[in-house]
């Protein structure tokens, strides 16, 4: 018998925008529309959300990123439908080039798939430290029944076989082949071509009832339950006699976060000791996993700040960011394409933020590949190391005049990082809170979507009081 698999830390992330359901309802001539859902600006997607959550979980774990043996990533829509999604995320998190893992995709069950895959690898001894990330940014068909609830978010767990705050226990799976949400080849949006009543009465609730009976027998104290449309979650909870699920707050703030939903719901329950049933649903499958928390799991307390932030966005802003509403005309190429020679030379410095520290004078040169000689002393002896991801704005501008696909206003800041490196970066958001002396975090963002290819790089995100809390909470837990 191997050691039970432990959760030593968790992390959560959400995009910058919240779309009020009433905006969507009004657009389609419907009355009402309750609540809100998280939505990605043009520079966020499943990859950037995954990186944000993963780095928070790793910070809360206190572990160095290079000892992670594998990354298990679950998302219903990888950024490259076929391409280097997993390797890009691993590089951005700073994992070793020798790390393993898997990409689980294709339905909202993918987050649970990733958790199971990682747990089995740890249990089997093929990974000592496994990183699980579930992220999604649902792009609903315009006018679909679940559009108002379609959200975005990410959750990450760090698993080991050592002493952790929580333990993974029993798991139950039920399959029921049925096509509910659907997205085919060449389709941008997820469609609802099913009958909602048929799905609810003959598929979703029977599966939940069956699964729930098994899990209820294990004296579960709280639940993370799927709620794809804003009503099914409550119906499932009623079927199980579960009361208000721990996941309800996540759904209320972020909407349906797809593959990330079961893990985010779990994080909501893991800031106190107890037994949580984590249930995921999608693609005709449902799985429940029991998690026993002996004490609050490091990083779980950071969820409140993630749920509490975000600015209200209009429906048109969201449609534009989702590439549903497109500007006419030519756009300029604006970033380093992933298929270019420049990325071959510079993947580590572009995605992993590698800098070159001069052995003779200590100056950090970025990026290394264009600095065979130090900018300060001319030496050619360097040590490559990741630059600090936090710093202070030395000077900045807010650019109002740029060609498409750039969106004005765009802040650009010269930032002095904690390790002494100086970089210049785009600023995430509209730059309205930017000042000389502003504290910023370097975050992975999608710079562009060029010729159908996402292009990634780092931006400076100005710290707000809320993100300060998150960072402070992570620091406290780390200590």
């Amino acid at each position: 018998m191997t050691n039970p698999v432990q959760i030593i830390a968790v992390g959560a992330a959400a995009p910058a925008w919240r779309l009020p359901a009433s905006e969507v309802a009004t657009a389609w001539g419907r009355k009402g529309g309750r609540g809100q859902a998280a939505a990605c600006p043009a520079d966020e997607d499943v990859l950037t959300l995954a990186a944000d959550a993963a780095l928070r979980a790793l910070a809360a774990s206190g572990l160095q990123t290079d000892i992670v043996d594998g990354l298990w990533w679950g998302t219903s829509r990888p950024p490259f439908a076929e391409g280097p999604s997993h390797s890009f995320l691993a590089a951005a998190i700073g994992l070793s080039a020798k790390s393993g893992g898997a990409l689980c995709a294709g339905s909202t069950h993918s987050g649970i798939d990733a958790l199971i895959g990682a747990a089995d690898a740890v249990a089997a001894g093929s990974a000592r430290v496994a990183l699980v990330v579930a992220s999604d940014a649902v792009v609903p068909g315009a006018g679909t029944s679940f559009e108002e609830r379609a959200g975005a978010g990410a959750a990450a767990f760090v698993l080991t076989n050592d002493e952790g705050a929580a333990t993974l226990g029993a798991r139950v799976t039920r399959t029921h082949p049925y096509l509910d949400r659907y997205r085919g080849d060449d389709e941008l949006e997820t469609r609802d071509i099913y009958d909602g009543r048929l799905f609810r009465e003959e598929v979703f609730l029977p599966v939940m009832r069956d699964l729930g009976e098994q899990l209820s027998a294990l004296e579960v104290t709280s639940w993370s339950l799927p709620d794809p449309d804003g009503r099914l979650g409550a119906a499932a909870a009623k079927t199980l006699g579960a009361g208000t699920p721990a996941s309800a707050g996540v759904y209320g703030a972020l909407g349906d976060t797809g593959a990330a939903a079961p893990l985010l719901g779990a994080i909501a329950a893991l800031d106190v000791a107890g037994r949580v049933a984590v249930v995921g649903f999608g693609g005709g499958r449902a799985t429940g996993i029991v998690v026993d928390a002996d004490r609050p799991v490091p990083g779980a307390a950071g969820l409140a700040a993630v749920l509490g932030t975000g600015r209200s966005a209009t429906y048109t802003e969201v449609l534009r960011a989702r590439n549903v509403l497109r500007p006419n005309g030519e756009t300029v190429a604006m970033a380093v394409p992933p298929q270019s020679a420049q990325l071959v030379r510079g993947a580590d410095e572009i995605l992993g933020l590698l800098g070159a520290r001069c052995v003779d004078c200590g100056t950090i040169n970025t990026p290394p590949t264009i600095h065979p000689h130090c900018i300060s002393c001319g030496s050619s002896k360097f040590v490559l190391e990741p630059v600090a991801r936090h710093g202070v704005v030395h000077t900045y501008v807010i650019n109002h005049t740029m060609p498409a696909p750039f969106q004005a206003p765009l802040g650009l800041a010269v930032v002095d990082l904690d390790d002494g490196a100086r970089v210049m970066l785009q600023v995430a958001g509209d730059g309205s809170t930017l000042e000389i002396g502003s504290e910023v975090d370097l975050v992975l963002r999608r710079y562009a979507y060029e010729r159908g290819v996402p292009v990634y790089g780092y931006k400076a995100a100005v710290r707000t009081p809320d993100t300060d809390d998150t960072a402070a909470a992570a620091a406290t837990e780390e200590a």
Binding site: V332, H400, T401, L412, V423, M424
Partner: protein
Amino acid sequence: MAWNKVAVVGGGLIKFGELFEQSYEQMASGAFDAAVASVDKGFDPQLVEAAFVATQRGTLWGQEGIGGNTVPTAIGLAGIPCTRVENACPSGSDAFRVGAMAVASGVHDVVLVIGVEKMRDKSGDEGLLARAAAGHPVYTRGETAPVLFAPFATRHMHEFGTTREMLASVAVKNHFNGARNPNAHFKNEITIEDALKSAPVCHPLHLLDCCPQTDGAAAVLLVNPDRAAEFTDDPVFVAGFGVATDHPYLHEKSTFTGLRATTMAAERAYKMAGVEPGQIDCAEVHDCFTITEILDIEDLGFVEKGKGGVASLEGETAITGRIPVNTSGGLLAKGHPIGATGVAQIVECWLQLRGQADERQAEIRNGFALQHNVGGRGSGVSVINILTTNR
């Protein structure tokens, strides 16, 4: 003691502006004709032994591969040696320096330096704005031209209390001067209020803090000083020059309150010419943005570091001020056809030193005028030429 190994005997430019009706070749021909016509004792174009042409960005009119041979044919001198000089915004001033070295070396006695730039053939997003793809090679994108200078404005305001009114005063002065220059792109005077109320382009810079995109061409004729008397009794000499480079990206700068390339180029130019900043009677400096002129007059030693904004607001750089700057209207009002800019600045200095600048004439006391450009990636190239009437 000034270098004085080269004499300038002619200079001219075409009227700058949105010259949709003129080809690159027609602009070049117009500038050459103007330079020839300016020579006091007449000038036979066939005397030109070699030419140096400054064009920074042929792609703005769809020509990826322009070289030296475009201009000789356009000006009726097919066959002469001609070399294209490209060195970012200082391309024109560097072509002048290269031409001067060709004369001083003794290889050529008569050299044409000509700057030609078509900025407006390609519209909007296909034009200069498409440079937004530049910037830090992996981190930054969105770096349009104002992004090269606006961070300096933000920091200058932070450290020295420079205000938007002080920036605006540079635009007001240069538009005043441009209104008195028949070859300027803009000939309208503006007020501080106009500048403050203009649309934001790249905070803290607004529209009237920025130079326009301008088509234009300018030319000067350089000769061996021993032969200057064939052409004029009032030659102007090249007293000295200085060139310097700085790191090519903004994040590599150690300071955002000055441009190191300018400071270093100035040291070299002053030393070569044997002059102090206080001996300069007037200067044409690179005012692609209002903040740039404020940095320039500090970096060139005309005012103390940090006092450029106050000096501008108080009129020290006006035509009647202590050190007249950009009497031509500068890039802000005369326009900034990149390759032509430096050459046109030389023409203005030549006119000023010879007392031919009409209602924008500055008082010439010591006989020295300074021409300056700065630009390129990270504003990392500066070229300065100093001219003198002193023999």
